[in-house]
């Protein structure tokens, strides 16, 4: 799949999902199981993305500078730091550790 096919195809899929909600009968919301399961799918995907982005290197699981950076990000989130600061802090910790020779 070329870069543009991916960008436009995935964007169209995401828009179709938004529009489907606006066109669907409102009584679908009355089934709480549906909404709950969808919310948990979002949680599962974001948790998996966090874990693989922090630990995966191709097909290997490695512990490198990303792990302490993620711990600092979690601490910042617990202290209610804004999103952008959390992201910048994580980058700074990883960059600092690597500059200091810690993989």
């Amino acid at each position: 799949m070329s870069g543009w096919a991916l960008v436009l195809g995935a964007a169209a899929a995401c828009y179709a999902l938004k529009l489907a909600g606006h066109l669907a009968p409102a009584r679908w919301l009355e089934r709480p199981g549906t909404a709950r399961a969808a919310a948990l799918v979002t949680v599962a995907l974001l948790a998996a993305l966090t874990a693989t982005q922090a630990l995966a290197d191709g097909r290997a699981v490695v512990l490198d500078a990303r792990v302490p950076a993620l711990v600092v990000a979690a601490l910042a989130l617990a202290l209610r730091a804004p999103f952008l600061l959390v992201v910048v802090l994580a980058a700074a910790v990883a960059a600092g550790l690597r500059a200091g020779g810690w993989s």
Binding site: M1, G3, W4, L6, V7, A10, A11, C14, Y15, L17, K18, A20, G21, H22, L23, A24, A26, L29, R31, P32, G33, T34, R36, A37, A38, A39, L40, V41, T42, V43, A44, L45, L46, A47, A48, L49, T50, A51, T52, Q53, A54, L55, A56, A60, V61, A69, L70, A73, A74, L77, F83, L84, V86, V87, A90, A91, A94, A95, G96, R98
Partner: protein, 238 residues
């Protein structure tokens, strides 16, 4: 063109909408930088922000592409993360009551932030104002910040040296964090993280994330809601 007079109490709603727009839009900088670090062109990154316009899916797509995953895995992950916007559409459509071209535009602006601000307002007029103003301000600032981020990402070069890979992990954690309050959400997150990590050596890049969706039925089957846990206890595992 007739400009409608603002509804009573519009000022706090407008202030809330614009501040959410600025705060959310700003992290478009990190999206733009990560997108070019993952190998997308600046124009592709901007197209995602303007056309896909849902942060979680955008970060997921560039994350899977950056990890060497296939386009199909990247698109599937982005679409699955976009399912919640359909549920937001169900919630806001009765508040907005629009049709035709305006409905198409309302659908495009249906994201976490516009739904949260819109549904939190006390009157129907303010709900509409909150939704439209939040959605529009996030869209404009998100695209501007993405463009700025692509310039920054290009200038930084090697993503690892500046910790952009760690920044991407922190971005996903930041999107996850506010969703963890509910009891079973934390259990699903923990199981999903373990499943995805365990699958990394076995599956090709991108697929471990999709496999982690199995955490949802697993947790729903093993952890029934406690009695008295609220209305969602009925049919939660159905």
């Amino acid at each position: 063109m007739r400009v409608p007079s603002p509804p009573p109490g519009a000022r706090p709603t407008a202030a809330q909408a614009l501040s959410v727009g600025v705060a959310t839009g700003a992290y478009g900088i990190s999206f733009g930088a990560l997108a070019v670090a993952a190998g997308l062109t600046p124009l592709q990154a901007l197209a995602l922000s303007a056309l896909m316009f849902t942060g979680g899916s955008q970060f997921a797509l560039v994350g899977v592409v950056g990890a060497g995953g296939t386009g199909v895995a990247a698109a599937a992950t982005a679409a699955l993360l976009g399912v919640r916007n359909g549920l937001y559409g169900l919630q806001v459509a009765p508040l907005l009551r629009v049709s035709g071209l305006r409905r198409l535009l309302a659908a495009h602006l249906t994201i976490d932030e516009s739904t949260a601000v819109g549904t939190a307002q006390p009157t129907p007029a303010l709900q509409r104002l909150g939704f439209w103003l939040t959605g529009t301000s996030v869209l404009v600032l998100w695209c501007l910040a993405t463009a700025a981020g692509t310039v920054l990402g290009d200038a930084l070069g090697d993503p690892g040296r500046f910790g952009l890979d760690a920044a991407a992990a922190a971005a996903f954690l930041g999107l996850l964090w506010p969703r963890l309050r509910e009891g079973r959400a934390a259990a699903v997150a923990a199981v999903a993280a373990v499943v995805a990590t365990a699958a990394v050596p076995v599956l090709s890049p991108g697929l471990p994330v999709l496999a982690a969706v199995l955490a949802v039925p697993l947790v729903l089957l093993l952890r029934r809601p406690r009695p008295g846990g609220g209305a969602e206890a009925v049919g939660g595992a159905a």
